[in-house]
């Protein structure tokens, strides 16, 4: 019996998906460790990009300032890059660090914290070799190991999802990772079904109010493709599609209505054949504009395209549609992708100049049944938008995000509640010395009001060298946090989290 060479050839043709990461313009021969350490001594804000001293740490019964709401019970999970320095090497992009999964277990007015670095196959192989083996998103490691597939460099470091009793640490260039919710240990890569081993899965899946999960992946190779996933509330793969997309590249987020999936595709294009890193093999091509792909939830072959001006953003808030088919959605948008090329890289060497200015502004888009489309970008610096989970895909009145408090801000410093019906804002300014992170909306039981609930999220107090977990009354965020549970240590700044009542 002969080996199936035709399959082998076909397979080999797309191995390039895995071949992209290891080549980069920036060379690790330039060591940033000393430069960062020196900058940190001068500027305590950089504490947010320092590697924790240990791979696992915990603190029980945190000191609580204020009145912690007794009705708020469950687990707040967070993820983000944390292992920036290891084996004598400091990574040169914020997105490269291996993921740190955290659980804040909340109940009876008490908060416990537990954090553990995810020992992915990538990190295990590097620890066994006692050196960094793989180039990452934006760091080149010379003489690295052979790269076989995207999951060889999976750092599981972007977000975390609890779905149908399973806890998943999310990356976006490859598989989601299964994690034990008790020990926070990495367990294995998640496959959504036969043939979906190693197929990229976004860090921003969307969950319908009924528990249906919608997700995508971007597969960049000889033929760029968008992978679509429809997953039932019980975690079963219902349907998928592969959509070829020309002039495609990194795509971080998407948004859903009750009937459609909406992809805002920026003109950030992966150009094949260049011997450079993942992000440095992208080119900003504004002449292409932004393309919006709308796919019907009930038929992945039903696709429509819209055109908008060039812009780059990481995160969406929500989308919804009117009876006539007009689709509304929002995103935090910048004029271009310089944030990811420059600011998010330079912070690793301790350079914060231009860091805050590189973040996006709140923008609202409209897609008309006629085929027209419009984009309205506000002047409000914004990122990490969140809504009530009961309104995903439905018209929401409220959006919560981090914002800038004044034009001098070097980073997002306030928590903002945006009333989309009248454009009124409620703002809480954390003040100098604190860096807030994403705050997620946790609904209060048995309430019909969209904003009846809490906002839960972390904050780094870099002046005192500690982090805390805030809880806000979402109806009055301008009053400041109801309570903050303070950790006895600082946390590295991370990305995304989720809240679940119960363990998962």
């Amino acid at each position: 019996m002969a080996m199936q060479r035709r399959d082998f050839l076909k397979s080999s043709a797309v191995l390039g998906v895995a071949s992209l990461a290891p080549r980069i313009a920036y060379s690790i021969s330039e060591d940033w460790s000393a430069e960062f350490a020196s900058a940190l001594r001068q500027d305590p804000r950089l504490l947010g990009w320092k590697t924790p001293a240990s791979d696992a740490f915990a603190a029980a019964a945190l000191r609580i300032e204020g009145a912690w709401p007794g009705a708020l019970e469950g687990t707040f999970w967070r993820n983000g890059p944390a292992v920036h320095d290891r084996h004598g090497l400091r990574y040169q992009h914020w997105f490269d660090g291996d993921g740190l999964l955290q659980a804040f277990r909340i109940g009876a007015g008490r908060v416990d914290h537990h954090a553990r670095v995810l020992k992915t196959p990538k990190l295990r192989a590097e620890d066994e070799a006692a050196r960094r083996l793989y180039s990452g998103f934006g760091t080149h490691v010379p003489d690295g190991a052979r790269l076989r597939k995207p999951d060889d460099v999976n750092t599981a470091n972007i977000s975390v999802l609890a779905h149908h009793g399973e806890l998943l640490a999310l990356w976006e260039g490859g598989s989601a990772s299964r994690v034990d919710p008790e020990s926070l240990r990495w367990q294995g890569f998640k496959s959504w079904g036969q043939g979906f081993e190693g197929v990229p899965f976004t860090a921003h899946p969307k969950v319908d109010p009924d528990g249906t999960l919608w997700a995508f992946g971007y597969a960049l190779g000889a033929q760029h493709q968008l992978v679509l996933y429809h997953i039932s509330p019980k975690g079963a793969l219902v349907k998928t599609a592969l959509v070829p997309i020309s002039d495609f590249g990194m795509l971080h987020d998407f948004v859903i209505t009750d009937k459609h999936l909406v992809f805002m595709i920026p003109p950030l294009v992966m150009e094949m054949g260049m011997e450079t890193s993942f992000i440095d093999s992208h080119r900003w091509r504004p002449e292409l504009g932004s393309r919006v792909l709308v796919v019907a939830k009930d038929n992945f072959e039903d696709r429509r395209w819209y055109e908008l001006p060039p812009a780059f953003g990481f995160h969406h808030g929500n989308a919804w549609e009117e009876a006539d088919g007009t689709i509304h959605f929002d995103q935090c948008l910048d004029d271009d992708a310089s944030l990811v090329f420059d600011a998010l890289r330079n912070v690793m060497r301790g350079h914060l100049d231009g860091f805050g200015a590189a973040f996006g502004r709140y923008a609202r888009m409209r897609l008309l049944p006629s085929g027209g489309a419009s984009m309205d970008i506000t002047v409000d610096g914004a990122d990490f938008p969140q809504i009530s989970p009961s309104h995903v895909g439905l018209r929401n009145r409220y959006l919560y995000h981090l914002g800038v408090a004044d034009s001098e801000d070097w980073y997002l410093r306030s928590l903002v509640k945006r009333d989309l019906d009248n454009d009124r804002l409620q703002t809480f300014d954390f003040g100098t010395g604190k860096i807030p992170e994403e705050h997620v909306f946790v609904p209060r039981q048995a309430s019909e009001q969209e904003d009846a609930g809490w906002l839960v999220g972390t904050v780094l107090d870099y002046q005192h060298g500690i982090s805390g977990l805030n809880v806000f009354n979402a109806q009055h965020i301008e009053d400041g946090p109801l309570a903050t549970a303070w950790l006895p240590y600082p946390l590295p700044l991370g990305f995304h989290g989720c809240f679940r009542s119960g363990l998962v």
């Binding site: 002969a2 080996m3 060479r5 082998f8 191995l15 979906f196 992978v227 998928t240």
Partner: protein
């Protein structure tokens, strides 16, 4: 663990070969991670009009029960020339190399010299070894990647 499989005499394959010039071609498939299923391997020669590693470019393929470690196969009386090794580990015994929806292999595979390609399979010459005229033997070696 090292497994040595004694192997067929290939003189019938290379009928034109002058016996005095022929040598041994040793195939080494390293890093087989388990004894599940079978290992398939192939010997390729330069074939005009055939893109490596297409099946049409192979002069011999074989299948052997997988054994963790290194699998070694010796071909006797092979004429001088260039030979490239390909292999895959059919762990589930399906008779095929499994691939995911994107076509990326989900079972282990190996190329001679551990050759890798950019955006695809390696080139034949990167995966090949040369059995020189008068040489007693040459080893074509590659490690499984999972």
């Amino acid at each position: 663990m090292k497994t040595l499989l004694s192997i067929l005499c290939l003189s019938t394959w290379f009928i034109a070969a002058a016996p005095t010039l022929a040598g041994d071609l040793v195939l080494e498939v390293k890093g087989v991670r388990s004894s599940e299923g079978d290992v398939y391997a192939g010997v390729h020669i330069p074939t005009p009009g055939v893109k490596f590693p297409a099946e049409e470019g192979s002069v011999h393929t074989f299948k052997t029960p997988a054994r963790a470690g290194t699998i070694t196969v010796v071909f006797k009386d092979v004429p001088p020339g260039e030979y490239a090794l390909t292999a895959f580990h059919d762990e589930d015994g399906s008779g095929e190399m499994n691939v995911n929806a994107l076509g990326i292999p989900t079972e282990g595979y190996a190329f001679g010299n551990d050759a890798t390609g950019f955006m695809g399979a390696p080139k034949f010459e990167d995966a090949a070894v040369t059995l020189a005229e008068g040489a007693q033997s040459v080893t074509a070696s590659g490690s499984m990647m999972y």
